[in-house]
């Protein structure tokens, strides 16, 4: 815009802004219609796909799929204590359900990301919650699982030998993302200062190895149990080829979203660079 007619420009600006507001107004109506439609779809999906605490139903749903992810990662949100399914107990309940679905579907690794990491300090309670939920699904013969918190280096296992577990659950929080990479950069700085590491040795491979050690391997499928795809500072290194899934306007951890994510994943193709 030129500065020759400031007043004319102001008028033109407000005129254009008025057009924009009209567009926004129309969009808000469309958005409300879409919201109702999305909620309706979600309701129908949750009636169509209902696990009913039976691993057999989940297995039947999964058996039609061409491929399964080896590692699933889920972004769950902490709700306020007053809400339904709120607080730390709500997150534990979500993890317990996800663990049961993964075990029934035959996915050997589950990573749960929660921004605050509220369950990191109550791993024992989490283990109880998961065991309890698995009983509801599998009866007394519950599959074995391990819970790992990479941030505190804590590992809890139902088996004596943690390598044999049917499911590996890892709990991630914000600190496992960028702050861990920062920490790694600091360490590498110190190592290069003391000449234990040459700058040329700092390769993608080295960093990948370190971060896999510190945080875990890259997931194949990331399910975001929120109304929009919001990565919430998820560890950036681990998102390279991860398939992402979310259901618009969904705000709970439910089986319909989980199984639809698996279906979507089964259809996807990876052809990196080729």
């Amino acid at each position: 815009m030129t500065t020759t007619h400031p007043r004319g420009n102001m008028v033109a600006f407000h005129f254009r802004h008025a057009i924009l507001l009209v567009v926004f107004f129309v969009m808000s109506i469309a958005r409300n219609v879409q919201y109702v439609y999305n909620k309706l779809c979600l309701r129908i999906f949750s009636m169509t796909y209902y696990p009913n605490k039976s691993p057999q139903i989940i297995r039947d749903d999964v058996s039609k799929l061409g491929k399964l992810p080896k590692r699933i990662s889920c972004i769950v949100s902490l709700r306020s204590d007053d809400d339904e399914n709120g607080g730390c107990d709500g997150v534990m309940g979500d993890v317990a359900e996800l663990a049961a679905w993964c075990l029934s579907a035959g996915v050997p690794s589950l990573t749960v990301y929660e921004y605050n990491g509220c369950v990191k300090s109550c791993v024992a309670e989490l283990q109880n919650a998961v065991t309890k939920n698995l009983r509801a699904y599998f009866g007394l013969q519950t599959p074995s699982f391990t819970i790992k918190v990479p941030h505190t280096n804590e590992v809890v296992s139902t088996e004596a030998n943690s390598g044999d577990a049917d499911l590996e659950i890892a709990v991630l929080l914000r600190v496992d993302g960028k702050p861990t990479i920062v920490e790694l950069a600091r360490t590498i700085g110190e190592l290069t200062a003391s000449k234990e590491l040459l700058p040329d040795d700092i390769t993608v491979k080295l960093i990948d190895g370190e971060l896999t050690e510190l945080v875990g391997p890259e997931p194949d499928l990331l399910i975001c149990f929120g109304p929009v795809l919001d990565l919430q500072d998820y560890p950036p290194w681990h998102l390279r080829l991860t398939e992402m899934y979310w259901e618009p306007d969904n705000n709970s951890v439910n089986y319909a979203v989980f199984i639809r994510a698996l279906k979507k994943f089964a259809q996807s193709r990876v052809n990196l660079g080729k």
């Binding site: 969009m27 909620k39 306020s80 960028k178 990565l231 500072d233 998102l239 398939e243 979507k264």
Partner: protein
């Protein structure tokens, strides 16, 4: 159909007029400062339409120029495009050579007098690991960066050849070197951000991936994980991606930012643990302060029908209530 229409006299003039109008309207509202584009689907497009691979890439480039024109008209100050990833060197040698030639000639073309860069004052920056490139391409790219260096209105980052992991490794390496030179350097997320190739640019607000693939494919991973960044996936193949599709995405982002205070749209309220708030680093605090400033813009209150929601959860309550009634 569209090709047939585009042969009409005055078509390109009309298109650029329309873009000007759309741009002038959309720049009166919230506009993303930095947009990332993953231009995927050129090869699939060529295959589906049974045209030569070369031609597919060529059309992809034209599509990019058309979309960029709209973006800069709309007041976007920075665009980052994913042109070539390091893994692309695995492709057939003839195709790689052809892509290199295409990049050379097209980038030269847009940076010439009177073309895109000149028209919008765009500074072209090539981001990536130049060690992988042949010498002649390197020379040309350096030349392009040099000729456009004085442009300040907007920036076009061409990622060539790039992967985000390589960028992060580069950032860690250079940070380590700097920390050794200056022992007082306190390494935090800021420091690393400043050592990425995108240092000094505004934070990424919008990332678009075409061709119906729901992956980030090693592009701007560090920059896109904050909640501030909206990620949009489009089902269109890149050569089919028109400025009109871009307009829809741009208006959607703008609408979401204006209506819900968040480019992503209607989000849940984030519950943050008290101890964590205290431990939060400066980056986040500065960012959230900036956000609350932005949401208090005068345009938000001048509307009669809706006052800016103070938090995303309020917005969702309102919508839910209106749905029920």
């Amino acid at each position: 159909m569209s090709e047939w229409v585009s042969t009409f006299p005055g078509y390109s003039l009309l298109m650029s007029r329309i873009k000007k109008v759309i741009g002038s309207v959309s720049r009166t509202g919230p506009v993303p400062r930095h947009i990332g584009l993953i231009m995927d689907g050129n090869r699939r497009f060529a295959k589906n339409h049974q045209i030569e691979l070369k031609e597919g890439h060529n059309m992809g480039f034209d599509s990019m120029a058309a979309v960029l024109e709209l973006l800069y008209e709309s007041g976007v100050s920075c665009a980052t495009v994913y042109a070539f990833l390091i893994e692309n060197f695995k492709r057939l040698k003839t195709e790689v050579d052809w892509l290199m030639d295409l990049a050379k000639s097209k980038l030269m073309q847009i940076s010439q007098n009177g073309e895109l860069c000149d028209k919008y004052g765009i500074r072209v920056r090539i981001l990536g690991n130049f060690a992988f490139l042949p010498d002649d391409v390197n020379v040309v790219l350096k030349d392009i960066m040099h000729t456009t260096r004085k442009n300040t209105r907007a920036t076009l980052n061409v990622c060539f050849p790039y992967t985000s992991r390589d960028e992060m490794a580069h950032a860690i390496r250079t940070t380590a070197e700097d920390a050794n030179k200056d022992s007082g350097l306190d390494v935090d997320e800021h420091t690393l951000t400043d050592h990425m190739y995108t240092a000094g640019l505004p934070p990424l607000d919008l990332l678009i991936r075409t061709s119906g693939t729901y992956r980030l494919s090693d592009f701007l991973l560090w920059q896109c994980v904050p909640s501030l960044c909206a990620i949009v996936f489009s089902d269109r193949l890149w050569p089919e991606f028109t400025p009109w599709d871009m307009t829809k995405i741009l208006f959607m982002w703008s609408f979401n930012k204006y209506w819900y205070g968040h480019g992503n749209g209607q989000t849940m309220r984030r519950v943050v643990d008290e101890p964590l708030v205290r431990a939060m680093d400066r980056t986040d605090l500065a960012q959230s302060l900036w956000d609350s400033d932005a949401s208090a813009s005068p345009t938000a209150t001048s509307t009669g029908y809706k006052v800016y929601a103070s938090s995303p959860s309020d917005a969702s309550d309102i919508t839910a209530a209106s749905v029920v009634s």
